[in-house]
């Protein structure tokens, strides 16, 4: 019964989304509070129904109910509980259900917590969110229903792709979807504002917390994905410019641009048209990502291999949604009020430059992602656009952005003093250049580009610290006074500083890791030795072990630096009999912020004793690649908490008055 209740709830959520769109839409036309309230009720109901449907599907996965086709295709009784739970969103259908859950959740959040929004904007936003709900729920119910039943259930399920049976990946999709679908609220706000004809400072302020929340979730989601690729795929890398990675990276770039342009709109009432455009683009890129991953046009490690018919339906949803939104933009944007003016040297100009670079970077990633597809469609010739393209196009844009970044927060609004900013940043510049030169001089082998990258990372990190030092006027006033200023800094300021600092930390990690990574591979017998720069590894033993749903060979190694043992990596090579896939379980020794990364390869036939291919990487400062975005996301969350607290305080103060 529970599965069928889930199925019914899903259908009910679709009907409620329709009610939500209609009731809220009519409420705006008739300016009726009562109808608007009914629309909000429908939004809350749709979310509640989706929660029930999601719980029902999870129940089917946990109890291994193979009469549900989706469970039979993606689960197995021998799978550990965590992955049976994660199996709920591990397939195309289940992940569409998660997408709809997040979508209706956002609608319910606007209905439930958006008390400080003007009635018109709120009601229209809920209506647009309802329309998005109708499209995606109809797609899920009629074309990707996770509750389809089997009259003759199989004895066992076909299990989840073993590569996806991993803790980081269990949580990667929910975070990513929260980010993707969080952008839907921003999209709905933008459409509502265009209809209302009102994109002003207040609108930007209402939109910012939603953008911040979605951006933070997307940052965490992408980082988890990169971390998973790093330690699960066993290739030693963390970002491959794979089209599916790009699909999640493009909305992030646009959302980052939006966060910055919304500040200009909020503070100065300027750039309103551009901000709305970005708000529409952010969700459009999220939907494009969903289409690319699910249409079967891409073959990738983590693309869902889904039939083209369903891909065409998704493309239709993308076309209808983005098409009508941008048409509305073309019609209404010229009517938007222009905001305050600003000088070429000003905080606003810096943020405009930031937006230009981010938009150009998104365009290059889009081109690199779509060009092979378009070329294959046109000529039938398959080509792949890989790191060389992105290194030549994306990296210089980001480098230019990084050079300008520390100056931005130090510039005043409206008219900035460039000379003053340069005076304040020269120490940072000198230290950064010194760091780069030191890297070039002392790290072997000599790498010019990586050393420039190190200087850039140091520039971002020190620039962020200078910005805090400037705000607190440290060393210029008494320490007590500086401390008072430091703890009095608004959380939004802390959030910005942390996000910029996190970017610097990431750049440092990425440059060290890619520049000075060392690699060694050799077929080793038991007792064999593998040299890796200053380190060496001894393979002590390889034995067969049985996991809950796999058989594995586990290598037991010892890693030494000189004569001193530093760790005992135990990589595995797992065979999942259901499906017959083999995966590598990488062993990572964390030494400070660097990683010694060991992969056990296949057993090779050899005369005499058997040998195993052992690959090892020395990944210097690799941990920073994941800590950096973590700091950025933390900055987003801190900034978000500031807004909420201040709005709440504002309400209290008004109530008291």
């Amino acid at each position: 019964m529970i599965v069928e209740i889930g199925s019914f709830s899903l259908a009910l959520a679709l009907a409620l989304s329709l009610a939500q769109a209609v009731l809220a839409g009519v409420a705006r036309m008739r300016r009726s509070e009562v109808l608007a309230g009914a629309g909000q009720g429908a939004a809350l109901g749709a979310f509640a129904c989706l929660l029930i449907a999601f719980a029902a599907l999870m129940y089917a996965f946990v109890t291994s109910d193979f009469s549900v086709s989706n469970v039979a295709a993606n689960s197995h009784t021998a799978k550990p509980l965590l992955y049976r739970v994660a199996g709920t969103w591990g397939s195309h259908e289940g992940s569409m259900l998660l997408w709809c859950l997040a979508l209706t959740g956002c609608g319910a959040a606007v209905a439930g917590v958006g008390r400080n929004l003007p009635a018109g904007l709120k009601t229209l936003t809920i209506s647009v969110q309802g329309v998005l709900g109708i499209l995606f729920l109809a797609y899920t119910v009629f074309a990707s229903n996770p509750f389809v039943r089997l009259a003759q259930p199989p004895v066992e399920g076909r299990s989840l792709n073993p590569l996806l049976q991993d803790p980081a990946l269990a949580f990667h999709p929910p975070m990513l979807y929260l980010g993707y679908v969080g952008m839907s609220v921003v999209f709905s706000f933008a459409v509502a504002a265009l209809i209302e004809g009102r994109v002003d400072a207040a609108w930007a302020r209402w939109v910012r917390p939603w953008t911040l929340g979605a951006w933070s979730a997307l940052t965490v989601g992408i980082t988890l994905g990169a971390f998973w690729a790093y330690y699960e795929l066993g290739w030693g890398g963390w970002w491959f410019w794979d089209p599916v990675e790009n699909a999640s990276f493009m909305p992030w770039l646009i959302a980052t641009a939006l966060l910055h342009s919304a500040i200009v709109t909020e503070k100065r009432g300027a750039l309103s048209g551009w901000t709305v455009f970005l708000a529409l683009a952010a969700f459009t890129f999220s939907m494009l990502g969903a289409f690319l991953v699910r249409s079967g046009v891409l073959t990738s490690v983590h693309a869902f291999a889904v039939d083209p018919t369903r891909g065409v339906l998704l493309l239709a949803i993308l076309g209808v949604t983005a098409g009508s939104a941008f048409a509305l933009f073309a019609w209404r944007a010229p009517l938007l009020k222009q905001g305050g003016v600003f000088a070429p040297i000003s905080r606003e100009s810096a943020l405009v430059l930031n937006n230009i670079f981010l938009a150009a970077a998104t365009a290059t990633v889009l081109l690199g992602t779509l060009y092979p597809l378009m070329r294959e469609a046109a000529t039938g010739e398959a080509i792949s656009v890989g790191p060389p393209f992105f290194n030549l196009t994306f990296t210089p844009l980001m480098a230019a952005l990084a050079i300008l970044l520390p100056a931005g927060p130090l510039l005043a609004w409206k008219r900035g003093d460039l000379r003053g900013v340069m005076q304040r940043l020269w120490v940072a510049a000198v230290i950064a250049v010194a760091c780069g030169l030191a890297a070039f001089a002392f790290i072997s082998p000599r790498k010019a580009f990586s050393s420039v990258g190190v200087a850039m990372g140091a520039w971002l990190v020190i620039g962020s610290l200078v910005e805090i030092a400037e705000r607190t006027r440290v060393f210029r006033i008494s320490i007590g006074e500086s401390w008072r200023r430091l703890i009095g800094l608004p959380r939004g300021a802390w959030g910005m500083t942390l996000a910029h600092l996190g970017l610097g930390v990431f750049v440092l990690g990425a440059c060290f890791e890619t520049g000075w990574k060392q690699e060694a591979a050799e077929a080793l017998p038991v007792g064999g030795r593998l040299n890796l720069g200053a380190y060496h590894l001894i393979l002590d033993d390889v034995r067969g072990i049985e996991g809950p749903n796999y058989d594995a060979e586990r290598g037991q190694l010892r890693a030494f630096k000189g004569d001193k043992q530093i760790c005992a990596p135990a990589p595995e090579r797992r065979l999942y009999p259901t499906g017959g896939q083999t995966t590598s379980e990488v062993a990572i020794c964390t030494l400070g912020i660097s990683h010694l990364y060991v992969v056990l390869g296949e057993r090779r036939p050899a005369e005499g004793a058997p040998v195993w291919l052992v690959r090892a990487y020395w990944n210097p400062w690799a941990l920073l690649i994941f800590i950096g975005p973590g700091i950025m996301a933390l900055g987003g969350v801190i900034s978000l908490s500031d807004r909420r607290l201040r709005l709440a305080a504002g309400r209290k103060a008004e109530a008291a008055a």
């Binding site: 019964m1 599965v3 069928e4 209740i5 199925s7 019914f8 259908a11 009910l12 679709l14 009907a15 329709l18 009610a19 209609v22 009731l23 300016r31 009726s32 509070e33 009562v34 109808l35 608007a36 309230g37 009914a38 909000q40 009720g41 429908a42 109901g45 509640a48 129904c49 029930i52 089917a60 109890t63 291994s64 109910d65 193979f66 009469s67 400080n116 003007p118 009635a119 119910v141 009629f142 509750f147 389809v148 004895v155 066992e156 400072a201 207040a202 503070k267 100065r268 009432g269 305050g340 006027r473 067969g544 049985e546 065979l575 009999p577 057993r603 058997p610 201040r646 504002g650 008004e654």
Partner: protein, 361 residues
């Protein structure tokens, strides 16, 4: 079924209730001021606050304060007409609240399976346990055996049966696991090692892997006459390029097998094939995927010839022939065993059940 409709009805009513109660609450909130002016007032206070704490320069305070004040003024002037709390719209809301579940029901009838109960794995296992084992498919049998072993702990025989059921359901990895457990319990039994070698070989699509080779060697250590272990070890030698040693081992095996043994012809046929000669008509084939199973069965048959007082062995042999789809041998063995155990109804029942096992292909 009734429970489903009750829950679906309650859910529908609850959703309609949320729509109606939310609209009723909205009516009572009507007439609230546009929050835009409040927001701009707060922005003004924030600017002052930041400037008072020295976090923005005085000049910036002046300009941003002036701009925010202008926005406040324009927002206050632009305050549109308030929204109405007219409750006359309640009737259409009621209609929508009633239509929504009906629409959902229509969609559900299109895609759902009303009346189909949940089928959690645990419940299905319970049904299989209560069912006549003869009616079970090999995979179901394997699940039942796994459950029983989990509950009661397994003995060597239980794991042996599980291995057979796993093999019959084309899951050599599961069979290998079961045989490893059995070997842990009784490492002295050569037939278990031999069986393990064979399933590992089947798992590797016929290749005598190092693990399979080790299992065969362990079997030979315990029973130097193990025909299958000798056969496959020799086959492994030939596959590794040592044809001479492999053929010599096979020839020694032929010499050791008595003339009426059907496996003799199979080994001779393998020798002929390896030497590139036309293969003579052979008895049951040895080697290859099915051959490995057949080899296992032949060794069991030979063991029972030597040592016929083994009711479980007879049951296993009957089931094995049934699994292989070898009806003639199944029926002959069944008749022989029935005659031998005519006075033992339990064994007769097991024999009959075993004979009904579904064939492997």
């Amino acid at each position: 079924m009734i429970a489903f409709w009750v829950v679906a009805g309650v859910l529908s009513a609850a959703c309609a209730g949320v729509i109606l109660s939310s609209s009723a609450r909205a009516a009572s909130r009507a007439g609230a001021a546009d929050p835009t002016t409040a927001l701009y007032r707060r922005q003004l206070r924030e600017i002052d606050d930041l400037a008072d704490r020295g976090l923005i320069p005085e000049a910036e305070r002046t300009t941003t304060h002036a701009e925010a004040a202008r926005r406040l003024l324009s927002a206050a002037e632009g305050q549109g007409q308030a929204w109405s709390a007219d409750t006359a719209v309640r009737k259409p809301i009621l209609v929508v609240a009633a239509l929504t579940p009906l629409l959902a029901l229509g969609a559900y009838f299109g895609v759902g399976s009303p009346g189909l109960p949940d089928q959690p794995f645990k419940d299905r296992v319970a049904i299989w346990r209560d069912a006549d084992p003869a009616s079970l498919a090999p995979q179901e049998m394997a699940v039942v055996l796994q459950t029983l072993i989990k509950e009661r702990g397994g003995d060597v025989e239980a794991y042996g049966y599980l291995a057979q059921a796993e093999m019959a359901s084309e899951n050599p990895a599961g069979a290998a696991r079961a045989l490893r457990r059995a070997i842990e319990l009784d490492p002295k039994r050569a037939d278990l090692w031999e069986g393990l070698g064979e399933v590992l070989m089947i798992e590797a699509e016929g290749e005598v892997t190092p693990q399979a080779e080790r299992a065969f060697q362990e079997a030979l250590k315990r029973d130097p006459t193990s025909v299958n272990a000798r056969f496959h070890l020799a086959r492994g030698l030939i596959a590794d390029g040592d044809q001479q040693a492999g053929l010599a081992a096979w020839r020694a095996l032929v010499a050791d097998l008595p003339a009426p043994d059907p496996r003799r012809a199979a080994v001779q046929s393998a020798i002929a094939q390896a030497e590139g000669q036309p293969a003579p008509a052979a008895g049951p084939a040895l080697g290859g995927q099915l051959g490995a199973v057949q080899g296992m069965v032949a060794s069991l048959a030979a063991r029972l010839e030597d040592n016929p007082d083994d009711p479980e062995g007879w049951v296993r042999l009957v089931r094995s022939y049934a699994v292989l789809g070898d009806q003639a041998n199944r029926d002959a063995t069944l008749a022989k065993a029935r005659a031998k155990y005519a006075a033992n109804p339990d064994v007769l029942k097991d024999l009959d059940l075993a004979a009904k096992t579904e064939p492997m292909r």
